[in-house]
Amino acid sequence: MTATQPVRGAGIEPEPAGEPLDVPPTAKARTSGGGLSLRRLPYLAVLLLASVLFLYPFLWLISASLKPRTEVFDNSLLPRVWRWANYSDVWSYAPVLQWVTNSVVVALTAAVTVTISSALVAFGFAYFRFPLRNLLFGLVLATMMLPGAATMIPVYLIWHRIGLTGTQVPLWAQNLFGSAFYIFLLRQFFLSLPREYFEAARVDGCSFFGLFWRIALPLSRPALVVVLVFEIQASWTDLLRPLIYLQDPNLFTLPRGLKAVIDTFGNGGEQHWEIIMAASLIATVPLIVLFAFAQRHIMNGIASQGRKG
């Protein structure tokens, strides 16, 4: 499923709402609460409890992946017997290493292509004035509302006609044409760059493409990282498209492979949940690592989404 992540408007400083409330100068003094005040303790307690609820399934995933088959449903978080062999079992039951490689290749290709193409289009919208600009940009925004499921059949038929179903190409090739959400995001960023930089470069005889390549892109690294990371995540977790386009298990991406593992070893199957958990963890760890590296960018990118709906 193509992620629907529409966005509207970027950071705008809020102004006081409704009836203007006058703030007496003395108001500040009353609510000064720096450091670790006692008043924060109940909030911290709530957060700690919520954190346990959010983290426990995670820890449980790790622990279940290391338990023997018979212990999987046991309540204890620590396995009585640590069965590292679950991981080597996964490799022997299914071509997991191949799936990891496929996912990495597809995700990176998808991310790089969508970043470059979206940036090109975004720069076109941000820098130039031309006829139909607003209409076209309205169309870009409108496509964000288009449910991916509504076009999945004809898009499949198009790839089928070209003869590329059964390959990984349909998983990323549409990214060559940019993606509405990223075009929007990058356009906002390009608009925030000082126009004088471009004017000066023009005066120096820089080409339009040079403006894009040598000025806009280098100055937009944070925004480009956001797009890269969002797309890697979207591609890495996508199930529907691999389900539609891939039949050969050797070409599967991780979610598609994981689904096959669940079908074989899970509900109605051989009940090897420790294998499924090990495969799930293998699919999860790379994204967590990515998150660890790009956390600040991701948070800023998401935070800017909801501003001013």
Partner: protein, 323 residues
């Protein structure tokens, strides 16, 4: 930029700084050409992967098409069929019930967490990360994990409920509890919404609260009169996105209840979501004409619901007068 400027270029830069120089028609044309050059990837993509598919889909929805034989025009038969197909009614009902269950719950829980986060100062960063980690878990992996956690007899959730004396339901087999169980699975991944709300809350000027407090407004009134209006844009935005995503529920439900050997199990009907039925019709039994009609119905429903929400937003969303 680093080259030394010639006299002529300084003169031109000064002129353009004073106000854009009156562009001659030739230069203008070059700009327009360049602009459309930059736009060309999107324009091609829009034609090939949006406009053409929608036209093809519209055409196919009036045909009988199995991908092997040529499409056979059948008029409005597909649309008539979907009106009387009990599976369509079921899938629609399931999907709407799930959306009505999940969207408000996700918004309420995320807002609650964000408001608490907003009170703890610098510690918020750490907890925000904790809440966001499940979002980085691939949906299929999360679905597998929750199949275990939600297990009726041996699952962690019911065992924990046992500790407080509650006898938990059979989340994955009892058709009445399958949708709540799925909602729970999805709630685990609401960290993105929390981050959006927290960012919105942090933008609300503190003096508003201080002034209201001086005026004697209680905490509920401050929440209702200041917090809600000031973050209404973020609330509205997430409501639309969560609704559209809920109406397209696929990954989790399909992973947990469909495909492989589970195909024929009892639980199916309660987890038959609209996109799953569409997928089965299109790629399972190759009723591509019928599935195209289903796709158009989905499109219409999403458009309608979004339009209603946008209308409502005009009444409830407070805009800070920009644009």
């Amino acid at each position: 930029m680093t080259k030394t400027l010639t006299d002529k270029s300084i003169e031109r830069a000064a002129r353009s700084a004073a106000g854009r120089q009156p562009a001659g028609p030739r230069r203008n044309w070059r700009e327009i050409r360049a602009a459309y050059g930059f736009l060309s990837p999107w324009i091609i993509g829009f034609v090939v992967f949006t406009t053409a598919p929608m036209l093809i889909s519209l055409y196919l929805s009036f045909t009988d098409y199995d991908q092997i034989n040529a499409p056979n025009y059948v008029g409005t038969q597909n649309y008539q069929q979907l009106m009387s197909d009990p599976k369509v009614a079921l899938a629609l009902k399931n999907t709407l019930i799930y959306a009505v269950m999940y969207v408000p719950a996700a918004m309420a829980v995320a807002l609650g967490l964000a408001m608490v986060l907003n009170r703890v100062g610098r510690a918020a960063g750490f907890f925000r990360t904790v809440f966001y980690l499940p979002v980085m878990t691939p949906t299929v992996a999360a679905a597998a994990l929750f199949l275990l956690l939600l297990n009726g007899q041996k699952g962690l959730i019911n065992r924990s409920l046992m500790l407080i004396g509650v006898h938990g339901p059979n989340w994955t087999t009892d058709s009445a509890w399958i949708k709540p169980g799925l909602a729970l699975t999805m709630l685990w991944g609401l960290g993105g919404t929390v981050v959006i709300y927290l960012a919105a809350l942090q933008q609300v000027p503190k003096d508003l609260y201080e002034a209201a407090q001086l005026d004697g407004a209680g905490s509920f009134n401050r929440f209702r009169r200041i917090t809600l209006p000031m973050i209404s844009g973020a609330l509205f935005f997430t409501m639309i996105v969560l609704t559209i995503n809920s109406l397209q529920m696929f990954d989790q439900a399909y992973t947990m209840f469909f495909g492989g050997q589970q195909q024929s199990t009892y639980a199916n009907d309660a987890a038959l979501f609209y996109v799953i039925y569409l997928f089965q019709q299109a790629f399972g039994v190759l009723h591509m004409g019928y599935a195209s009609a289903l796709a158009w119905l989905l499109f219409g429903i999403i458009l309608l619901i979004t339009a209603v929400q946008v209308r409502l937003s005009k009444r409830f969303v407070y805009y800070e007068g920009d644009r």
